[in-house]
């Protein structure tokens, strides 16, 4: 059953093309701060742009050398035609690179449609009202593209479906440390959530929760891995476990974070989305620092993690900067942690071996 999630993730492009062949329109979010509920309510299939390790993409990236691996990789995917099934991309900014990649894509006419969401950095009443208006504008345009207007009722239903999905992922995340689901398998559960129709993924997670594999003996030390880039996270998980550790929980920007913020009930569904997304999804730089640090500590406590590997993808300002703010607290709390910084390439990751091994041994 668990292998199904991996398959969903790895065949996401083929599956999207099959949906396209059935007449469905597909719109991507770049990244998780762009509400998929809007796309869903317009009758289209929402997916998320995700990085993918493939040498063909790296060689075709043709971008500035100091951009993060995520952006370079997506540039490569576009150049290679891997995302040719998309009818549009909806962008909510999390960093300067992600924001200005949109300029390049617009110039290249990389996608048929691009929506840059004017997303406030605050969540006060003025910001909520402004963002609700912005979502309403984009909702109208999505409805025009699909031919199915985004009505309040449809949007309310979509919000309900995604909230249910988030709740399921939260349940999975809470149950995982005591189950027989490995860290690597857990990454695939979440990665597949990003690109699979929500109804289908919810059904699968429900099935998984009903029959979680029993816990196997766990080697010590137990760790949490915090990372942005999925292939890099998988590399580091394998590396840590190769040296005897068990990664019992993770803090992938796509996973517990995606499931962390439920869109609240509100008579106006656009305002509900604004309230659910502004400063509620714990993306570095867009979330209160105190809460972010506390969340990591609490998640480690709940999973019984003894140490943290915090992986910074080179040129990801958000993570690099967030680390400096977290470090203050980690040091104060005497929370064992290892910061790693690497490019999203196998050669760069390989060089982390010694440090990961030393960190694992230091916790024994």
């Amino acid at each position: 059953m668990i292998a199904r999630f991996r398959e969903l993730h790895e065949t996401r492009h083929e599956r999207a093309r099959a949906l396209k062949a059935q007449g469905r329109k597909i719109v991507a979010s770049f990244y998780a701060l762009a509400p998929k509920e809007l796309v869903h309510a317009a009758g289209m299939v929402p997916v998320q742009l995700v990085e993918d390790r493939d040498a063909r993409y790296e060689t075709r990236a043709e971008l500035l050398p100091y951009l993060c691996g995520m952006s370079r990789n997506l540039g490569g995917q576009i150049a290679a035609g891997a995302l040719d099934y998309l009818d549009g991309v909806m962008v909510a900014t999390v960093c300067d690179t992600n924001r200005h990649m949109v300029d390049v894509w617009a110039h290249q006419r990389a996608f048929a449609r691009l929506w840059l969401l004017r997303t406030p950095a605050k969540d006060d009443d003025g910001a909520i009202a402004y963002y609700a208006g912005e979502l309403r504008r984009v909702g109208r345009e999505l409805g025009a593209l699909s031919g199915q207007p985004v009505t309040d009722d449809r949007l309310g239903e979509s919000i309900g479906l995604f909230n249910e999905h988030r709740a399921l992922l939260r349940r999975f995340h809470a149950a995982r440390p005591a189950s027989g689901v490995s860290a690597e398998e857990a990454v695939h559960v979440v990665a597949s959530a990003l690109t699979t129709p929500v109804e289908e993924h919810s059904a699968l997670v429900r099935e998984l929760l009903a029959a979680l594999p029993p816990a196997a003996p766990r080697a010590e030390p137990r760790l949490m891995v915090s990372a942005l880039n999925i292939p890099m996270a998988l590399d580091v998980i394998r590396m840590a476990e190769k040296y005897g550790a068990t990664v019992v929980t993770d803090d992938l920007s796509h996973s517990p974070r995606y499931g962390s913020a439920e869109v609240p009930a509100d008579a106006d569904p656009y305002r509900a989305l604004a309230r659910g997304y502004l400063r509620r999804v714990p993306a570095p730089g867009m979330y209160p620092l105190e809460e972010r640090a506390a969340w990591i500590r609490q998640a480690m406590d709940q999973a019984g993690a003894q140490g943290l590997i915090y992986l910074v993808q080179l040129y990801c300002d958000a993570y690099a900067f967030e680390y400096a703010t977290l470090k203050d607290r980690f040091d104060r709390w005497k929370l064992p942690h290892l910061r790693l910084e690497a490019e999203a390439t196998p050669a760069s990751i390989e060089q982390l071996n010694v440090r990961v091994q030393a960190f694992v041994e230091s916790l024994l």
Partner: protein
Amino acid sequence: MAELDLKTIQKKVTAGASHRKVVAAAEAGQPICVASAGIPNEVLLAMGVSAMYPESLAAISSGIGKAGPFFEEARNRGLSAAVCSYTRCGLGICWTSQTAFGAIPRPALAITDVNMCSLHATWWAYLEDHFKLPTFYLDMPVTDDPSAPDYIAYYAQQIREMVAFIEGNTQSRLDMDRLRAALAHSDRAGLYWRKMLDLRKHRPSPLSFRSLAGWVLPLVIALGEEDTADFYEALYHQGVADVQQGKTPAQGGERYRLIWNGIPIWHHLQLINYFEEKGANFVWEPYTSLNWGNKTSTGRLDLDRPFDTMAEKYTNVYTNKTIERRFQYFDEAIRDYGVDGVVMFSNRSCRPQSIGLHELAELIQERHGLPILFFEGDQADPEGFSWDDARMRVDGYLEILEGRRQGTPA
């Protein structure tokens, strides 16, 4: 205005003078604010709040070769060298409470914008968190259409909230007469800044980009002050006199007229001099021409609508415009200023300024066929910058320009 007056006024607006003003203000009991470039200075001035600007201090520290200890402090605090050098150096300044000019007074509050770059949000969040400073974020969501009325209205409301924030955290109160006076000075400074830049359309252009890079400072940190307006008015008159005398920083006469695209390389400003020594003169830059100078539709500030006019000006951010719109600026400048070539600074610290450079270069070459030289490096951190390599590349580039001048493509 006579040259002597310019020198007298200039002494009042130097970085050192600004630092002394902040120290004096603190001693007089005024609240000190840690502010980021691009916030409405005029409001601070009208409320009697004195500000220090870590980005400017970082650029200055780099320019005078004194940024090293601040970068070192940032490294020790766990900040990756891949993070923006203004941020690392600026935080180093805050952590050490030192600048190149002496100790900084204890700030009472912090204010930033969150649009010019997204790092401002995390940078100031860190200040708020680490130094326990009341902090205000002037929200300006990313956009590719900063002229949208609802967008400008949202920012105007942000400025009003900034006033309320200052009033809630200090004894300062907004005096509307002082605000209008500050805006009048700001308007005059912006007006003369633009008039001065227009002088560069003359052949030869009388102004040096190296000088302009330094002269920008009062626009960043002292807009709204009378001295600042006087300074730019005096500079303009000096520029007019220089035009009449045919002065130019290009040695041996102005042979090539260039555009510089990007933030100056503060740690090697002598690179600009090297161009000038070889007869090349920078006559237009987005950095100087599009970031300052009453960026409203009329080119003037409307003193009867203070919040709206500030909102229109401060939301008009160059990097929030599409690549096609940015190209239009280049297209116009290349024609209006008679440009022979473009130098692009691919700046690893500044993604907003650097992403899209190659696409912009393609458009320029398609339309105008101008030779383009790329530099890669960092605005404030000299790590990895090779002066020998830079000069060699300039030499090669100027050979190409000379070949074109003589009708023999290199």
